[in-house]
């Protein structure tokens, strides 16, 4: 057990801290993905290696060797200073790593730089009304007609589709192949004729997602990543990574700390909420769980740094446990506030800018999205514990 880091990293940390001290005022406020402030800030971060750090220079990145600890230090310090850590979104977090791994030289040159600079905003077309947990059952059809794919079908949960420039999309190109082998990964312009985007209002009251409809959408043949029928492997090249980072323990710790402050400040019948033994016990239970998850993540980190060290199931359980835990933390905050916990949007009694209700619902969304808790349990039991798979139903004749 050695929890110390090389002194080199303390130097690196102080560089990040001093960068933030002298530049934080240039950072955009809020969640603007398209404004000049966001783009200018992104450029400055890339030049200093604080985002897109390992993307090669020839594609507009910083070109550093992968270093998990430095990435972690950057994330920690930006979060501590509450400064925007650069552009996110599915283009940067999912498509760019996919292209780096599976794309052609031309695709890398055409798409990576504009994507990371915020010039090209992407949405993801994976899920369909009939293909959720069973994503490989997707049925949006792509038929080759001369030099063009003709696409017909519907996608759902396409966040940012209403503002996206392009979409990366899974389509069924080989209808006669087995279901995992008939899928292709296409890239196309959202301005192509035949695309209709309808907002999908969710339980938060906002349209965080859309439904996207394709009617005879014509896409040039070469806009495919990987070969025909390889789309499932292309998409899965980075899917596991997405799950692990959905509910990190350090954010859960930040929320528990905020909950402690809330319970020290709010009163009922003149007594602080933290003085109520029932609420306090629930708080302490969650604090203990967060502690366990923090050390679980340290073990995952350590296994990445020390090849040969076995992380056990530590990585596999993090989406399931992390999202459920966050939902519980936000839920306790709502419970302790009583009726005040119901306040929403413009209510003057709002606490924490309404974040408790917002996150409570948002994390229920994450329990379902990115592979539901039930799918996670299948993965843990089958791949982690080696339990037998569910027998397949014979097709009715």
């Amino acid at each position: 057990m050695d929890l110390s880091f090389d002194p080199e990293y303390e130097t690196f940390r102080s560089e990040v801290v001093s960068f933030l001290a002298s530049n934080a005022d240039k950072a955009p406020k809020g969640n603007d993905l398209r404004g000049d402030a966001a783009k200018g800030w992104q450029k400055l971060l890339i030049e200093n290696g604080y985002t897109c750090r390992t993307i090669p220079k020839e594609f507009g990145g910083y070109g550093a060797e992968p270093d998990i600890i430095k990435s972690r230090i950057i994330a920690e310090e930006f979060s501590k200073a509450r400064v925007n850590a650069g552009l996110g979104g599915q283009g940067i977090s999912m498509l760019v790593p996919t292209l780096l791994e599976m794309g052609t030289q031309e695709q890398k040159e055409q798409f990576i730089q504009p994507t990371i600079m915020g010039e090209m905003l992407w949405c993801q077309g994976y899920s369909e009304p009939g293909a959720g947990s069973d994503l490989a059952a997707l049925s949006t059809a792509a038929v080759l007609d001369g030099d063009e794919w003709v696409i017909n079908g519907q996608k759902i949960w396409t966040s940012t589709a209403q503002i996206a420039d392009w979409i990366f999309c899974l389509v069924r190109s080989e209808p006669d192949a087995p279901k995992h082998k008939g899928i292709s990964f296409l890239l196309f312009d959202m301005k192509t004729p035949g695309i209709e985007v309808r907002p999908l209002v969710d339980m938060t009251g906002h349209a965080n997602f859309n439904e996207t409809f394709f009617t005879d959408v014509r896409v040039p043949k070469h806009q495919i990543v990987g070969e025909r029928g390889q789309g499932w492997q292309v998409a899965n090249a980075i899917l596991g990574h997405e799950r692990e980072t959905l509910a990190p323990a350090n954010t859960a710790q930040t929320r528990v700390n905020a909950l402690v402050d809330l319970m020290k400040n709010e009163t009922a019948d003149g007594a602080r909420l933290v003085d109520n033994p029932v609420y306090r016990d629930r708080l302490m239970k969650l604090q203990g769980k967060v502690m366990a998850m923090r050390f679980n993540e340290l073990r995952v980190l350590s296994a990445r740094l020390n090849p040969g060290q076995d992380p056990g199931l530590a990585r596999m359980i993090s989406k399931l446990e992390g999202t459920e835990l966050r939902h519980d933390i936000e839920g306790l905050a709502i419970d302790v506030m009583g009726e005040i916990g119901l306040a929403y949007e413009d209510n003057p009694h709002l606490r924490g800018s309404g974040s408790w209700q917002r996150e409570y619902m948002y994390y229920l969304g994450l329990i379902i999205g990115g592979g539901t808790s039930q799918i996670q349990k299948n993965i843990i039991s089958e791949r982690g514990l080696g339990m037998p798979r569910e027998p397949k139903f014979e097709k009715a004749s």
């Binding site: 302490m284 604090q287 050390f295």
Partner: protein, 356 residues
């Protein structure tokens, strides 16, 4: 940075597990439960250096760390081994090493495995009903419930002021009564003191706390081992047992129970490692971490004890499979040295959230 066990620690774990596989089988534990003793198991562990783990080298010990003790405790829990490990090898050496007095001879005997020290802490942790321990002059009066290790040569007793004393099991004023509990893998006794000669070990509350903390982490590690073993047994059973012409482990209703157990237990392993490490290296975090680790492991183990029994169906309820020995071990660990609700209250007090 390396968060995990060293090669030496993995070797230690494998050695202890190998010994216990051969010498603390379920049949052997049943023999203890039926009234046999644990002397041969403890003698074998003494040859492997287990009682000497935490005894400083100057006193004839090995001088290893609390994390090493937690590793051994996990092995003992997995094998539901009947031993005096918690009192003799973990709590007593910690108390004696922190004491101002000269305990070289006793520490050397502990290290050699020839002297067993029991522990009676219940009355200082959370006193129940009429139990109380009082020391007047150099003599002890009162009563301790549920002291552990029925065959100890001496007892480390904490009074209401959290002062630590050592008493001899042979003292004529000491009455030792074995009382039945559900956990048959270890025996507890009620101690009645009628002017028992009490040797003061420490009046420093910090020493009491250090001994309590390491005891709690060792119990949490024992719980980790027991719960992991129950999960492993459930998974194995679900793979073998067939109903409706297929292994019951292929039903999601069953496999999801196993996944939930695994998902809750896996972070516990890292938590126990960190808690053990913190006791020696991170004094500022050690106390709260020890509280949360003991309480959290108790909750997860309660869930696993119940769920893994259910996965076994009717067989889980029988004495034939013997799963109930692990079930009851987890149950006893939950109550020893502080139940989860009281420990979480301590964690809140330690953080200054509320006054005691």
């Amino acid at each position: 940075m390396q968060f995990g066990l060293s090669e030496e620690q993995i070797m230690l774990r494998d050695n202890i597990n190998r010994f216990l596989d051969d010498n603390s089988s379920l049949d052997r534990v049943r023999a203890f439960a039926d009234g046999g003793d644990d002397a041969d198991i403890w003698a074998g562990l003494a040859e492997l250096g287990v009682p000497a783990l935490l005894v400083p080298e100057e006193q004839g010990g090995i001088g290893l760390t609390p994390l090493d003790a937690a590793i051994v405790a996990e092995c003992l829990g997995a094998h539901i081994a009947p031993t005096p490990f918690l009192g003799t090898a973990v709590m007593a050496p910690t108390a004696l090493a922190a004491s101002d007095g000269d305990h070289d001879t006793l520490l050397a005997e502990i290290a050699a495995g020839t002297h067993r020290v029991g522990v009676a802490f219940g009355e200082a942790v959370k006193r129940r009903n009429d139990a109380h321990v009082e020391v007047r002059g150099e003599h002890m009066f009162g009563k301790s419930l549920f002291a552990f290790d029925a065959n100890a040569d001496s007892y480390l007793v904490a009074d209401q002021n959290k002062h630590l004393y050592l008493i001899a099991a042979s003292d004529p004023g000491l009455q030792r009564t074995h009382l039945t509990t559900v956990d048959k893998t270890r025996r507890t006794v009620e101690l009645t003191y009628d002017s028992v000669a009490a040797q003061c070990i420490s009046r420093d509350v910090k020493v009491f706390e250090a001994v309590l903390d390491i005891g709690r982490v060792a119990i949490a590690a024992d719980t980790l081992g027991a719960a992991q073993n129950m999960l492993d047994q459930a998974v194995e059973y679900a793979k073998q047992r067939e109903q409706f012409n297929r292994p019951i482990g292929s039903f999601q209703a069953v496999k999801h129970m196993c996944a939930e157990m695994a998902a809750q237990l896996e972070p516990c392993r890292s938590m126990v490692w960190f808690a053990g490490h913190a006791l020696a290296e991170l004094p500022e975090e050690a106390r709260v971490t020890a509280c949360h680790t003991k309480a959290h492991l108790a909750e997860v183990a309660q869930f696993i004890a119940k769920t893994s029994t259910e996965v076994h169906g009717g067989m889980g309820f029988t004495d034939l499979v013997g799963l109930h020995y692990w079930f009851k071990r987890c149950g006893a660990n939950r109550q020893w040295l502080g139940a989860p609700e009281f420990i979480r209250q301590e964690a809140a007090v330690l953080q200054g959230l509320v006054k005691d």
